[in-house]
Symmetry: C2
Subunit: 360 residues, 2 copies
């Protein structure tokens, strides 16, 4: 593990410089906690553009980047199936690792990642930023204080139009590389949100369908999840204008969270384009037909979900605090995702314990 | 079958005079198509109050009411497990029948009802009024015209707080008399809405939980349904402030329908307290991060869901038009409900064909 006694910002590098790497960098590159030192992707033009846009250096190979002594941690946004090899290399070089969700999509990769992270004793964080959205934090607060009463049901939907634009050869359209389509790519966020709010579900059932014009991958996945306290629905749809919603039903009130998906990637402004609505009784007499429901917005203070997780990662590297979404939380999310994929493929109820045990 | 050549309003009587009978009567008793002639329930005080409030006569037995020549049809709102015997008696007396949903909750009752209705050749209507809500009609129009594109996913949630108030001995708290709790009592409305929009699903899986303070019945039911075109989620929850929502996801737009449940039983005002929101792209360029979603309310013209179905029933008795929700539609809804109950009980995917065949 690279040791540092520096009091300045943590020196990080970006590996994988696609669209999401740029969105992430836009969120963190001016952070006081972060000094973006270098970047790497195979494509030289893309690399040069990233370096110029975010004011960092660049390395012309992964090996070169990882061998530098002045880099403490790496931000990994390569495709899912390359996570394990990049993380292994980074961990061997003693670099702390932040990796985009999902941490991996198969058991072998999870085991390689766990072995590498444990061996190197590095700080490891997985990018489940959605739980940092102001509305999701507020839902958790309402559950913790008990002010909405006892919860019984939750719905979480994450949808967008990407499936309509996939072309043959795109890895997201390939059932092997992005199994479950929007489940792996979008639903994993809500799997973490549900984990954050209600823990790991016991059991999952699922239904899915295809329907994209040019690729064979699953485009819609619906899942039911049995938590200790609530029945959950997870909806994932790649064939429709963006939706990111959560509905939480409890005895005193129900909460509806909606995010304007156009602002999803502008993480400094995401919360300003989201709303949390609380529905409860204004009057609650014996006559059910005379009861009056009220619907009121809950005040949400703006946060910055993408920057927060990188700042936290940077500070944890320096021993200031811990990361919230560590490897075991990320693996639990993958176990739920794999249970859902298995429920979908085998059309049966799957105990999450079953997939969880395969990942340990 | 009672024949009538009268040109005046159709002469109807109400059987079962509980809360819902009064809500129904409030909707239809001043209708030009209806002349409410009589009413019956065993409790004399309740009967007298109903007769006084809705300006009708009363009969002191079901037999007396059904033997009257001046009554053409009956509006039946007795508990579910009494539907079959009341409908048999009415059909034998040649009275046309409107019955509250669900038409019945077991196969034996369905068969008795079908035999009685077929034998007597009466007009038979089942009270699935929710499909007449302006917002549900508009969703159907949007699907028919294709203006929202191809649908892929739908969510339908119907919840209220009744489970929190059930006491031991209440038939709604009894798993035998109201199996599935809110599924039988609330979800059946959305099962019909989904049937109206997407047809009968092929297959169902479900999860449920208890949780009411004083009764043992299921209080939350979540179900996934596989339709020809879409994956559906049906949510039913008896432990939370009222919710009646539908979310329809399609390629060009998604629609969210919300009803203020406080106005559910004031059917002349229900549509004025509902909204349908359409989310679609205002700009849709190649860069997914630059796309802008817009959210706009869709204009809904007020209808009157409860009165419409009684008016339609009254006119059909006189040969003017047909009822929209006939026995076979109501039975298909029960088949879906029974498949969901079985999926819940046996924790497996159930083909609707399986329950449908048991009802024929």
């Amino acid at each position: 593990m690279t040791q540092s006694t520096s009091g300045g910002p943590t020196r990080l590098a970006a590996i994988g410089l696609g669209r999401w790497a740029r969105i992430m960098a836009s969120a963190y590159y001016r952070s006081e906690d972060v000094d973006l030192v270098s970047c790497f992707t195979r494509n030289p033009e893309r690399r040069a553009r990233f370096a110029a846009d975010y004011g960092c250096g660049e390395d012309d190979s992964l090996e070169a980047l990882l061998s530098r002594d002045d880099i403490e941690g790496v931000i990994v946004t390569v495709p899912n199936d390359q996570h394990a090899s990049v993380i292994e290399a980074a961990a061997r070089a003693g670099k702390h690792v932040y990796v985009e969700k999902p941490v991996a999509v198969d058991a072998a990769d999870i085991k390689r990642i766990r072995a590498a992270v444990t061996e190197a004793n590095i700080v490891f964080a997985c990018g489940h930023s959605a739980r940092r959205l102001a509305g999701v934090r507020e839902m958790r607060r309402c559950l913790d204080t008990g002010e909405i009463g006892t919860p019984s049901m939750v719905e979480a939907v994450f949808s967008n139009e990407r499936g309509l634009e996939l072309n043959e050869g795109d890895w997201r359209g390939d059932p092997e590389r992005a199994p479950g389509g929007p489940l792996t790519q979008l639903g994993i966020h809500h799997i973490d949100n549900l984990n954050y709010l209600f823990g790991v579900p016991r059991r999952v059932v699922a239904m899915g369908r295809q329907g994209a014009p040019r690729v064979s991958n699953t485009m819609v996945v619906g899942a039911l999840m049995e938590f200790d306290d609530v029945i959950g629905f997870l909806g994932n749809d790649w064939l429709t204008p963006g939706a990111f919603t959560m509905d939480l039903y409890a005895t005193v009130a129900r909460l509806r969270y909606e995010l304007d998906f156009s602002w999803w990637s502008d993480s400094a402004d995401t919360d300003a384009h989201a709303r949390l609505i609380k529905v409860q009784f204004d009057s609650h007499g014996d006559d059910p037909d005379a009861r009056v429901l009220s619907e009121r917005p809950v005040q949400l203070d703006a946060r910055n979900h993408l920057r927060e997780e990188i700042d936290e990662f940077a500070r944890a590297i320096r021993g200031r605090g811990e990361v919230e979404v560590d490897l075991e939380t990320a693996v639990a999310n993958v176990a739920v995702m794999m249970a859902t994929l298995r429920a979908l493929k085998e059309q049966r109820a799957v105990d999450v314990e079953e997939t969880m045990s395969e990942l340990s």
